[in-house]
């Protein structure tokens, strides 16, 4: 426990991310425009203050964790392929855990590792894209930015270490009293999340300041790229809500370490209180996960449809609508928890209300596509996949909101299917779209189209089978988070299909990984505006230069005026008139 804390701090000092701060504290000046010491791929393994490098670092660690979390999922998905325990049996003893205990640990870690992976992936896209989209040279606080990135490394390590320290068996939600009794691995889990949360809060602060203070001349609020809107909305949630999960976990840590009875009924504590604190973050958190993804969809769709984003203002505002309503729906996770009965009704109303701003997005996307000139290269395929999958997630939501139906669905595989749809549609698909789309900007080469399409066409149908199958078995009586299920339910063949679909998705992601790394060196050269986009970053050659634009930008049009001749979005301010550029 203390070891983890100590390890995290010494890691940060050791890797050098705090060097400049220490120098400032001692009164030594550092140069403003930081020169990079490292070149080539090595710069990604060392501390850099360049938002593009940090963005890519974030993306890489997110993909790495995606791989780890996915591997865990494959292990327990294999166990679930048939009823009875096959290899995670009670005689097994690995890392001090029997089979079912290991199942619980892997299942719980799968959840939290994926969540951390998503948070880092979001930071990846935002860090990379936001300064480019608003015409800035970097983020507002480059050193803080590097710090938020590097702190996520010990966070990930601490989190995974719980597997080797006795594991834990509470799921990612860590409800006490169970979490107050679980082995030491639980402590590592709490610590890991705590540190990751810290990274998330600092990162969000940086994004908000950057988006508010560093926009190009003439980029008024209603002329911002839509992705920037989404980034601001997301960051506001991260910055204000993350504290609650930190607090909830900290209280359990104190209960474990010092015997304080916050959630222990024997000492007058209340276990349900934890759930309120926990979900006060963790519900809005799902909007943290999806808003940037939906932002990517809104950002890329007009490019490939060759039409303006339909109802720009409405789409921008709907992100804020979702973020706002998202703060008052948390107790919909607790309809069966034994909280006050009458609270269930207002939370049903607020939850159903989320569908209104979300609906605005869907309608606007469809209207954007209507009468466009649609082409479907790989990034667009993932945008479309994202819309459809997220829509499936959206449609399976209301039955959870109307309380009485949720009494059946709660804690079953139906919920599991529902949130995999929302998270894949709202984050994973757009994340892949963003990588395929901005990869040429980062490397000057493009990823292989053929293998990109293979990735898409393998992943998407498998994913539909997976989540639809999950909802199906859930309705039929499959509880979530169980290592083994009753053969009498007759779900064996359904589960076998689910496992096969899971492996197909896993394979498609491996294909993506190979394509990604291969294309860095061997991809087809793509230095120009290959997507024919109006966005400023595509008006300069790829890969992007060290401090982004050599001349300051000025906004002179609308961001998505496709179909309108001679109405560019931005232009460069020639040096003579560049009197007061913001730097």
């Amino acid at each position: 426990m203390l070891g983890a804390l100590f390890g995290a701090v010494s890691f940060l000092v050791g890797c050098g991310v705090t060097d400049d701060w220490i120098k400032w504290a001692r009164g030594i000046d550092t140069s403003d425009h930081h020169e990079e010491h490292w070149h080539g791929w090595e710069k990604f393994l060392n501390v850099s203050f360049d938002h593009k490098v940090i963005g890519i670092q974030y993306t890489l660690i997110a993909l790495l964790l995606l791989g780890v979390g996915g591997t865990f999922a494959m292990i327990f998905r294999t166990e679930l392929a048939a009823s009875q325990l096959q290899f995670l049996t009670t005689d097994l003893n690995l890392f001090g855990q029997t089979g079912p205990q290991l199942f619980n640990t892997l299942m719980s870690l799968h959840g939290m590792i994926m969540i951390v992976s998503i948070l880092l992936g979001i930071s990846g896209i935002i860090n990379y894209a936001v300064p480019l989209l608003i015409g800035a040279a970097d983020m507002s606080f480059p050193r803080l930015n590097a710090f938020s990135y590097w702190i996520s490394v010990p966070a990930a390590i601490t989190l995974v270490s719980s597997l080797f320290l006795g594991g834990f068996d509470t799921g990612w939600t860590g409800y006490p009293p169970l979490s107050a009794r679980a082995p030491v691995g639980m402590q590592m889990f709490f610590m890991g999340v705590f540190i990751a949360g810290w990274s998330s809060i600092l990162g969000a602060l940086n994004v908000i300041v950057t988006a508010l203070r560093m926009r190009a001349k003439g980029m008024t609020a209603m002329k911002m790229p839509i992705f920037v809107w989404a980034s601001i909305a997301t960051s506001i949630i991260s910055m204000t809500a993350t504290q609650f999960i930190g607090l909830a976990f900290q209280l359990v840590m104190f209960q474990r370490l010092f015997g304080m009875g916050f959630f222990d009924p024997a000492k007058g504590g209340n276990p349900v209180l934890f759930q309120h604190l926990f979900w006060f973050y963790s519900h809005p958190a799902v909007y943290v996960f999806i808003l940037p993804g939906l932002g990517v969809i809104s950002e890329l769709l007009p490019v490939f449809v060759r039409k303006p984003l339909f109802g720009y203002r409405w789409v921008a505002m709907s992100s804020f609508g979702i973020a706002l309503v998202g703060f008052v729906v948390w107790a919909h996770h607790m309809f069966t928890s034994g909280m006050n009965e009458y609270l269930r009704v207002p939370f049903m109303y607020s939850t159903l209300l989320v569908s209104v701003p979300t609906g605005v997005k869907f309608f606007s996307w469809v209207a954007t596509m209507w009468k466009g000139r649609i082409s479907t290269p790989t990034p667009m395929l993932f945008v479309l996949g994202g819309i459809v999958v997220f829509f499936m997630g959206g449609l399976s939501g209301p039955p959870h909101a109307t309380v009485s139906t949720d009494l059946h669905l709660h804690d079953t595989y139906f919920v599991v299917g529902h949130f995999h749809d929302t998270i894949f549609g709202g984050f994973v698909f757009p994340f892949f779209a963003a990588i395929y789309y901005w990869f040429p900007k980062a490397t000057g080469r493009r990823m292989n189209e053929f293998w990109g399409k293979v990735h898409f066409w393998l992943m998407t149908p498998s994913f539909f089978i997976l989540t639809f199958g999950m909802m199906y078995v859930g309705l039929l009586g499959m509880r979530r988070r169980i290592a083994d299920y009753d053969p009498a339910l007759g779900l064996d063949s359904a589960h076998l299909i689910l496992t096969i679909a899971g492996f197909a998705i896993f394979t498609s992601v491996i294909i993506f990984g190979i394509n990604l790394f291969y294309s860095i060196k061997h991809g087809e050269k793509a230095e120009g505006n290959i997507w024919n986009s109006r966005s400023p970053e595509w008006q300069v050659p790829s890969p992007m230069a060290a401090h982004n634009y050599s001349k300051p930008l000025e906004v002179i049009g609308e961001p998505y005026d496709y179909g309108l001749k001679d109405a560019p979005y931005t232009r460069f301010i020639e040096p003579a008139s560049a009197g007061k550029s913001k730097h």
Partner: protein
């Protein structure tokens, strides 16, 4: 205009097909698992309406999307942009306001259905439920019966007053559709009116530790006669048992849910099996060997951490119990009979 007509027709067609498809899969009107309680009728009804609306909304978005993808595709060599269309305020207002109406309607229906589910019958039979890792015990206060099976009479409302001895569990019988968490330190309430005689299972739906998957006990909906017979039998068994020490031991074991972790048939659950337990030589996790006798059993129950059996987790998963000397003796007498 022509585009709109085609899409409109396709939307209606797809709506019908989607709904029928869901129904054939058994996910709309008639649902698996069978509905076995009065409460489930109202829930299934609401679910069915939701499936209709969902089929429609699904088609409303997916059809125009696919249509655009096919009809408004960029042809080879075509470099033109699409039509310059920035938005339409009326449309935006329509697709904001109409969903708000839908929300209000479904919130009303949801509230009404919740009311049905929670309707109180003053004549309801009360049964106490205790959940613990990893089993359920049911106590019938009127008859002084303790059982690991829940028997309830058909067509009568029962109210389960539930509490947990350790962590949070959740009482769920899929055929009844309703679920309620069971929380330590308080009582939660589960009202159900079974309408179909049959054998079901309560399946713990809240992750509660290692053997959570197996926390399933029998729930049996009886006709009134069968129910009365069962009650009479149980009263008789309890009376007989209280006459011998091993019988009393067995009652204690049932009341405390020991068999949630200890099997009687040789399989390993969370704890070691009780088959042939008395006199068995057991290895401890410090390598020492112990022959199971009275003193060791007493110690195991009162202070599980004093010795931990090899291959089991430390600290012990078993909670410490408080018993009188006589009760311990009775449990030992019972354990001796397990050969």
């Amino acid at each position: 205009m022509q585009h709109f007509v085609v899409v409109g027709i396709l939307v209606i067609l797809t709506t019908v097909l989607t709904y029928l498809g869901l129904d054939v899969a058994g996910l709309a009107k008639h649902q698996h698992p069978v509905s076995a309680s009065l409460q489930s009728i109202s829930i299934d009804q609401l679910w069915n309406w939701e499936m209709m609306v969902i089929s429609f909304l699904f088609s409303l978005i997916i059809v125009p999307m696919l249509y655009s993808l096919i009809v408004f595709r960029q042809k080879k060599g075509e470099l033109e942009d699409g039509e310059h269309m920035e938005g339409n305020a009326t449309l935006e207002v329509v697709w904001t306001v109409v969903p708000i109406f839908l929300v209000v309607i479904f919130a009303y229906l949801g509230g009404k259905s919740l009311g049905d589910v929670r309707r109180v019958d003053p004549q309801a039979v009360t049964i106490f439920v205790k959940a613990q890792q990893f089993t359920w015990t049911f106590e019938y206060p009127e008859y002084g019966i303790i059982s690991s099976e829940l028997h309830i009479p058909v067509n009568k409302q029962v109210v389960l007053k539930m509490t947990s001895a350790d962590v949070i569990h959740s009482f769920w019988v899929p055929e009844f559709r309703i679920k309620q968490d069971v929380v330590p330190g308080r009582y939660t309430e589960y009202r159900v009116t079974p309408i179909l005689v049959g054998d079901y299972k309560v399946r713990c739906a809240e992750l509660c530790g290692t053997s959570h998957s197996y926390m399933e006990n029998a729930v049996i909906v009886d006709t009134q006669e069968d129910y009365d017979t069962w009650i009479a039998e149980q009263v008789e068994i309890a009376k007989l048992a209280s006459l011998t020490p091993e019988g009393q031991g067995q009652l204690l074991v049932a009341r405390n849910g020991c068999t949630g972790c200890h099997s009687l048939n040789g399989t390993r659950l969370t704890g070691p099996t009780w088959l042939n337990i008395y006199g068995r030589e057991e290895e401890m996790n410090d390598g020492s060997k112990i022959v199971i006798d009275d003193a060791y059993i007493a110690e195991s129950i009162l202070d599980p951490n004093a010795h931990i059996v090899a291959t089991y987790a430390s600290p012990s998963q078993m909670p410490a119990f408080v018993f009188t000397d006589e009760e311990i003796a009775n449990i030992i007498a019972y354990l001796k009979t397990l050969k």
